[in-house]
Symmetry: C2
Subunit: 327 residues, 2 copies
């Protein structure tokens, strides 16, 4: 059974909610303007597994807190995720560099900025129609934190002395925040148990951070063909992620100099490949994998306090998938 | 009396509200992260005349609808305006071109995207703390319309056949929408007279569209030194604005060809200057100025239905300023 089939099976407990979520998404990205419709059609194809939206629904079911509005919240979470993806395309130095000779470069940046803004605005507008303001509140605050995390990350390029705790708070802010908000909303929207909301928020945070750590490892080790997206972009962009940080901070000066050189030497292409071939990253990669496992273990512990059932089982299996990812 | 002094005098009726608005803005752009604080400090300096925020307060006073929350709404409107300015810096082809050789180009784009997103998120988060959801609703919808207007504009480059009505709906969407929302909120927040809200929304729309038309004329005719910002960027970016549209659509084929050539010939610098020197734009500029005057006249008519008083008088004078702008 491949990943797609397994995922479909796991999402079975929330199939009707997912179908409603997709209807809401379709209606939201459609717009009277043909120019906008062309673009939203295009980005809809980026949507992938819709894990974040699914979490809203699964956590709602697993905590017994599901409402008719959960599908709309799931759609809002997916719209925000889509907006961050669209804006990430501008941030992604590797792609910008590859496109730099292209006459459409400037237009692409324009469109990406505006389209991302459009998707954020749609998401917030949609949240103002819900019966409770909790969704607007949590998601506008989550969006703010995501931006702060990304800005912090941009200012920490080439910072090989970054403490692991700081790395985690930045990596978490940019990725785990939305998982945390999705799970918290699933567990307590519109006005449910705050304690349960906080526990499921922590579950989402740990899952999301683990996801990001694995992502950072894959960006370093995977070939582009496996990953289905650009690989090696972190090194190319000067982002020092956990496996490199760990390796660097325990390396002798010769290895440190080599790592810095590979990150910064002008004109060097395929920096991640050079790093793999010229430096022993295994200790860092093992450490990062362990840390991701620890986080998932803690996340699973939080689930164990929920009543057993198909949605809890699906959340447990999803947490397991994070560690098994190879793309 | 210069413009700054006059403006200060006009804003006298809402001085206490403006002071509160600035306090809220300062608190909002401050953030725990030093990296973010550096950037928000920097962009705070772009803020200029804070006309949009002032409109919320003046319309609130003039319609007798002022509340303690109007200052916060004014701050939210200014935050959204600031976010659009920050993102416009990415969209602005002229600036991108000038910076293209700079090593910081990519970092600048990154920061601009993230900082704009941060400001939008702050604005929406702040609006969720207000007692009524009207502000979140109107401003998220306004933001969506602004983005659609900008996207439409980007897809209508070099479109010399654009109908005037379409030009106005696009120029209005990108600029007048926020003035309209500011005035509507001023007139009816939290749950006031909808008819009055609609009338003041229309006032804001006409004022904002007039402002944009004058802006389009100035971008074509002004020297950079007068304007205090880049001039000629519309022509450089392929934006066909009302004065050019009007001139083009009434020109013979020789003049049309000349206009198209100046817009599109590769490598031509100072296109706006070339246009001024080689084409008679006077009919188009006069027509655009007339149209701006018509809009202001209609806007003043809407004010005349409000009770006379210092705030109404200030709004009338502000409308007059739009036409007198030379920068």
């Amino acid at each position: 059974m491949n990943l797609e089939t397994s995922l479909a099976a796991l999402l079975k407990p929330v199939q009707p909610g997912l179908a409603r979520m997709r209807e809401v998404l379709l209606a939201q990205v459609a717009d009277a303007s043909p120019a906008v419709r062309d673009m939203t059609d295009h980005v809809s194809r980026f949507q992938g597994k819709q894990l974040r939206g699914s979490m809203v629904l699964l956590v709602g079911e697993a905590t017994g807190n599901s409402t008719d509005e959960h599908a709309t919240i799931a759609a809002i979470v997916e719209l925000i995720h889509l907006a961050t993806l669209v804006h990430d395309d501008i941030l992604d130095g590797a792609k910008v560099r590859r496109r730099v000779a292209c006459v459409n470069e400037r237009w692409d940046n324009q469109v990406a900025v505006l389209l991302g803004d459009f998707l954020y605005a749609r998401a917030f507008a949609l949240s103002t129609d819900l019966s409770s303001r909790l969704c607007s509140r949590l998601l506008s605050e989550a969006t703010r934190r995501i931006c702060v995390g990304e800005i912090e990350q941009a200012t920490r390029r080439y910072d090989f002395e970054l403490a692991q705790e700081r790395y985690e708070s930045i990596a978490g802010a940019k990725t785990a925040t939305l998982y945390a908000a999705a799970c918290e909303l699933g567990a307590r929207y519109p006005a449910g148990n705050e304690e349960q909301g906080a526990a499921m928020g922590a579950f989402g945070w740990e899952l999301g951070l683990s996801f990001q750590i694995i992502d950072d490892c894959l960006d370093l080790t995977a070939e582009e063909s496996e990953l289905g997206k650009s690989a090696g972009t972190d090194v190319q962009d000067g982002k020092v992620t956990l496996p490199v940080l760990y390796t660097y901070q325990r390396a002798d000066e010769a290895l440190r100099a080599r790592i810095r050189d590979i990150y910064t030497r002008p004109g060097l292409s395929e920096r991640a490949k050079a790093l793999r071939e010229q430096c022993d990253l295994k200790p860092g990669l093992d450490y990062a994998q362990n840390r991701a496992e620890q986080l998932i273990e803690s996340a699973l512990g939080r689930l164990s306090r929920l009543p057993a059932g198909p949605s809890r089982a699906s959340l447990e299996a999803l947490a397991g998938f994070v560690l098994a990812r190879r793309s």
